[in-house]
Amino acid sequence: MSYFRAENLSLHFGGLKAVDSVSFAVEKGEILSIIGPNGAGKSSIFNLISRIYPPTSGRIFFEDQDITEQPAYDIAGLGIARTFQNIELFENATMLSNLLVGRHRHSATQLWQELLFLPSVRAGEKVHRRRVEQVIEFLDLEAYRDKLISGLPYGVRKVIELARALCSEPKLILLDEPSSGLNVEETDDMSFWIRDMKTELGITVLMVEHDMTLVNRVSDRVIALNYGRVLAMGSPSEVQRHPDVVAAYLGA
């Protein structure tokens, strides 16, 4: 059995088939990239997995559990974290509180305990903070702890969003275009971090990406999509040489 599996996943908006019976599997500990031209349905697959849209048909399995019907907020609880293509951070909060929201699935305190800020809440806060600090160190974000997100540049926000996802200590992380809007240097950093996430933190990565340098550098396997269908699957070089993929990008 695969670690994560999508079976015949479809998402139709009226007559438009954004995702058209896509099946793929992710093995534990691998980095799988999804590539494809604009509108191929890459982000839609992510939105199906994180349950922003309910699928028209098909099923999703994670660790042999059917998660197709799980409510959206449960997905994080299962250990699947994600980032967004157009950054979705909490703009009017500091970076620290953004990252601490990432710890939400690990908080176990009750409302009445929090109102009184009992020692258990205080202890929990310190544990969360320690975890957050580890992520801050991992991604070199020390300089921004008390800064409001609304005042930070785009590249930093992109990293903070990755940090927020890592704070939830996920088993599987979905990265939606981690390098979009980043310059070459920042993209290099990002590729190191993605590989470190796999090797040091043992996180399985599913990633949508356009930057082929990044894809080639980090991916174990690549899936190419077009018009909601899988064109090719395999190692990065195999997929890039696949005639259908070439046709999709360059025209036949």
Binding site: S50, I52, I75, G77, L89, F90, N92, L100, V101, E114
Partner: protein
């Protein structure tokens, strides 16, 4: 300028980040403690109103300022707290019991109102809460067996542990102050724990909050319930302060006054709720003063600039007619809201922060620090 050297995670958790806070809040507290013994009874009575309005303001701040759910129905929550007190008092229920019952009942009603809020955002939510407020107002007017309808209900003098606590005495003032301080501390505790951060997350991006594992529906209902419960507690005190309540006291205008409290104060902080309450309680006597004296002042000015007595008399009667026009207060409130939203969107507390920063950085203060950027970054937001 003070630079904080943090050595412990505790430094980011504690309520007073450094000793300066303890000194300034200590002075404030000392002033508030001696206030009823040095200030005139009128001012103390105004301070009681400040405490009650600030308590409601804190409640509304949790909902609107921190969870991002607008409400124009808080007058109804206040009414439910007040009427619970009045009703239970008839059966000689002791104060602590009906005080908590008022908060609890209002909290439950707040949670019920929170459910429709799950599907509504922005202006639609405002309309839903307005209609809730009208329903409550109408129920209070019609359900005569319980609420005595439009006759209203009289509230007996508060008695606490066998002691009478008159609503004009210092003890009642300390009671209201205590409730306000406890509310503020409780809210601050909430804001530095997971629930408060979940509220802020919902305010800024529901999609992201959901994908981080926040049960958005549950937390919205929680926010409504907490906000309503705090308002209900304030309602009990409000009823005692006025010693008479009737449905027409809890109208839309009162809800708008609560919105003024948080908008004028600054919608992002609890300081804002208190500053806004002070502003609102101060502006009412000021408006009354204007209403009484403005005709005289303006006709006097006209006379000074050479108008004869007939013209001055006409000016007097015209200004007096305008000043005593119906609904003028509401119009002035509206103008105040619009002006603040346009020119001081961060409210009084924001202005205070700017002044503080000006002196901290003097002479290097940059006006651009607080300039609003007119950009729209989010092209496609998932809703």
């Amino acid at each position: 300028m003070r630079f904080l050297f943090k050595t412990d995670y505790e430094d980011d958790i504690r309520l007073f980040p450094h000793s300066g806070y303890i000194v300034s809040y200590g002075i404030l507290l000392a002033f508030l403690v001696i206030a009823p013994f040095v200030l005139s009874s009128y001012l103390v009575s105004q301070l009681v109103f400040v405490c009650i309005y600030a308590t409601v303001g804190v409640g509304l701040m949790i909902l609107t300022g921190f969870t991002g759910q607008a409400s124009l129905g808080h007058a109804a929550f206040l009414a439910i707290g007040a009427y619970t007190a009045a009703y239970l008092q008839q059966y000689n229920v002791p104060f602590p019991v009906y005080f908590l019952a008022g908060g609890l009942l209002t909290g439950v009603v707040g949670a019920l109102v929170g459910f429709p809020a799950l599907r509504l955002t922005g202006i639609y939510l405002v309309i839903a809460t307005i209609s809730f407020a009208f329903i409550v107002e109408e129920v209070l007017a019609r359900w005569e067996s319980v609420t005595h309808g439009n006759e209203g209900m009289r509230i007996k003098t508060l008695s606490l542990f066998g002691q009478a606590v008159p609503q004009n005495g210092p003890t009642f003032y300390f009671l209201c102050l205590g409730v306000l301080i406890l509310t503020i501390v409780g809210t601050l505790n909430l804001l530095r724990s997971p629930t408060g951060r979940a509220f802020v997350a919902i305010r800024d991006s529901e999609t992201a909050a959901r994908s981080m594992g926040v049960n958005v529906s549950l937390y919205k209902v929680k926010s409504f319930a907490i906000s309503a419960a705090i308002t209900g507690l304030a309602g009990v005190l409000f009823a005692h302060k006025l010693s008479f309540i009737s449905p027409e006291m809890f109208t839309l205008q009162l809800s708008i006054e609560f919105i003024i409290v948080i908008l004028i104060g600054g919608t992002f902080s609890l300081h804002g709720a208190v500053l806004g309450a002070i502003f609102l309680v101060m502006i009412d006597p000021f408006l009354t003063y204007l209403k009484d004296d403005l005709p005289g002042i303006i006709s006097g000015l006209a006379a000074t600039f050479g108008a004869d007595s007939v013209t001055a008399g006409k000016v007097y009667s015209n200004v007096a007619a305008i000043a005593s026009a119906n609904g003028l207060k509401g119009a002035i409130y509206g103008v105040i809201i619009v002006l603040f939203v346009l020119f001081e969107p961060l409210g009084l507390y924001g202005r205070w922060l700017k002044i503080k920063l000006f002196f901290q950085l003097f002479p290097l203060y940059k006006r651009a620090t607080f300039k609003r950027q007119k950009i729209y970054v989010k092209s496609e937001r998932n809703r």
